[in-house]
């Protein structure tokens, strides 16, 4: 049943050309150069230090590494990060790509 509903959602997303984050509850990252990073749809902070920010995602984790990282603002679903960002990595145990 779950499999069918997922296929159906997949289908509607393709047919109606809806953004994937809306349909599949995925994080949306907006990055301006290496200075600012805007992350929507996160599930909380796991670790925060000047050179590493780990966030929980609905499916997996997001790691932002860099220098002098500062969280400019944090809300229930959004995080605004500033600093020198060198790397962004997502290691999702993705149900969506399986």
């Amino acid at each position: 049943m779950r499999r069918i509903s997922r296929r159906l959602r997949h289908l509607t997303a393709r047919v109606l050309e809806l953004p994937q984050d809306v349909v599949f509850d995925l994080p949306r990252l907006t990055m301006i150069g290496d200075r600012q990073l805007y992350i929507e749809n996160h599930r909380g902070v796991l670790h925060f230090s000047p050179d590493m920010l780990k966030l929980r995602l609905p499916n997996g984790r997001l790691e932002v590494s860099g220098r002098d990282l500062v969280i400019r603002g944090i809300w229930t679903e959004e995080v605004f990060v500033e600093g020198v960002i060198t790397q962004v990595s997502i290691n999702g145990q993705g149900a969506w790509n399986g």
Binding site: G44, H47, S49, L69, I71, G73, I74
Partner: protein, 397 residues
């Protein structure tokens, strides 16, 4: 630290959080809707962040649950500023008073300058300005507008063709352009010069007109001396006659001169009484009791306290009571006559003009009665005997 004006009005706190569960705290705070800003790790591992004053108190329960402790680093924003001001009431009042004073003093008129007047005196212009309320130490917001003010000033100053009032800060400049008036012509309508007294002419000079009388001629009051009609009977012009005519005039005087004179003298005895003055009232301070003199005169001298040229409304009055004595002095008959003549001479000179000269005087009759000397005196003076008589043109000419 850049903070929006909204936060500045609400007030915000910079805090440092210590503890193991700081990350968990972030999650809880975000879930509760507490807005944390400018999060960063300090070198000692503390989490520094900025939170609004309202959210700060909502943060408390989360701290306890996650086992974190916090320290306040700085408080900024309007509520904290106000609290600081509340603690320094007099300082704040001083600042307010300073600005109020500055505003009030700068809205006074301090100085009035007048430009461009030659015939009109400064005093007259200032007086007119004062009547319109324009004076030093006047509130400038009580003055009418400059245009209105200059219009009213111009109405008050007939000698001014244009008046401009300019206000620059606390200085008011009144610019005056005066009217150019022609020289007033001497009003001389055609006239005769006639005798003002019965006299014998001693000198006659006509600068304009035709002399009618000659030296040593006897004239009666009202006789024409210098005629204003030139030419023959058929062809003539009328001119304003002018010139000098002097003549011998006789004055008869009845003089009464009393033999007993009353004179006031000071005995030299005096007493000083002091009064204190406050405002318009005075109060006797020393010198009580009725004065020990039968008759006395009081001389008052007020001295007001003054400070740097400003007269203050309190001071003292020094009252000096001088004893006086009225003395009766008996004159001899000769002295009484001389005094009477002296008064008569002064009276003649006052009536006949300053250039009159008394040529001769003669006592015609003298008798002493009831302590007085009665005299009849004839004075002969040489004086100006001019009077003017306007020439009226006959109708139809």
């Amino acid at each position: 630290m850049k903070v929006s004006w909204f936060h500045a009005v609400r007030g915000f706190v910079t805090i440092r959080i210590v503890g193991d569960g700081t990350e968990r705290l972030l999650g809880e705070a975000a879930a509760d809707g507490i807005e944390l800003m400018h999060l960063r790790r300090t070198s000692r591992g503390e989490l520094e962040c900025v939170v609004t004053a309202g959210d700060f108190f909502r943060l408390r329960p989360h701290l306890r649950r996650t086992g974190c402790r916090l320290r306040i680093v700085a408080k900024r924003g309007l509520p904290f500023q106000l609290a600081r001001i509340r603690r320094r009431k007099f300082f704040a009042m001083g600042i307010a008073l300073f600005f109020i004073g500055l505003y009030l003093l700068s809205s006074l008129v301090w100085r009035i300058e007048i430009e461009g007047n030659e015939r009109l005196t400064d005093e007259r212009i200032l007086e007119a300005a004062r009547a319109e309320g324009l004076r030093p130490f006047q509130w400038s917001f009580r003055l009418p507008e400059a245009g209105e003010l200059s219009r009213r000033l111009q109405l008050k100053l007939p000698g001014a063709a244009w008046v401009g009032v300019e206000k620059r800060g606390t200085l008011i400049t009144i610019r005056v352009v005066e009217t150019t008036e022609p020289e007033p012509r001497e009003l001389l309508s055609p006239r005769h010069l006639i005798a003002s007294e019965d006299a014998v002419v001693t000198r006659i000079t006509a600068t304009r007109g035709r002399p009618v009388v000659k030296k040593n001629q006897r004239v009666r009051k009202g006789d024409v001396l210098i005629s204003g009609i030139l030419g023959s009977e058929a062809h003539y012009v009328t001119v304003p006659a002018d010139g000098t005519v002097r003549g011998l005039v006789w004055h008869e005087y009845d003089i009464v001169s009393p033999l007993v004179r009353k004179a006031k003298t000071y005995t030299g005895e005096r007493r000083t009484v002091w009064h204190a003055v406050l405002g318009g009232r005075s109060l006797k301070v020393s010198g009580f009791g009725s004065p020990p003199f039968a008759k006395y005169e009081s001389v008052l001298r007020q001295e007001n306290a003054a400070w740097r040229g400003i007269v203050l409304p309190f001071g003292r009055i020094r009252e000096t009571q001088l004893e006086v004595k009225y003395e009766e002095r008996r004159l001899t008959e000769e002295e009484a006559v001389a005094e009477g003549l002296l008064q008569a001479r002064a009276d003649i000179l006052r009536k006949a003009g300053a250039d009159a000269v008394i040529k001769a005087e003669k006592i015609l009759h003298r008798r002493t009665e009831n302590g007085k000397v009665y005299m009849k005196v004839l004075f002969e003076t040489e004086q100006s005997i001019i009077d003017e008589l306007p020439l009226v043109r006959p109708q139809g000419e």
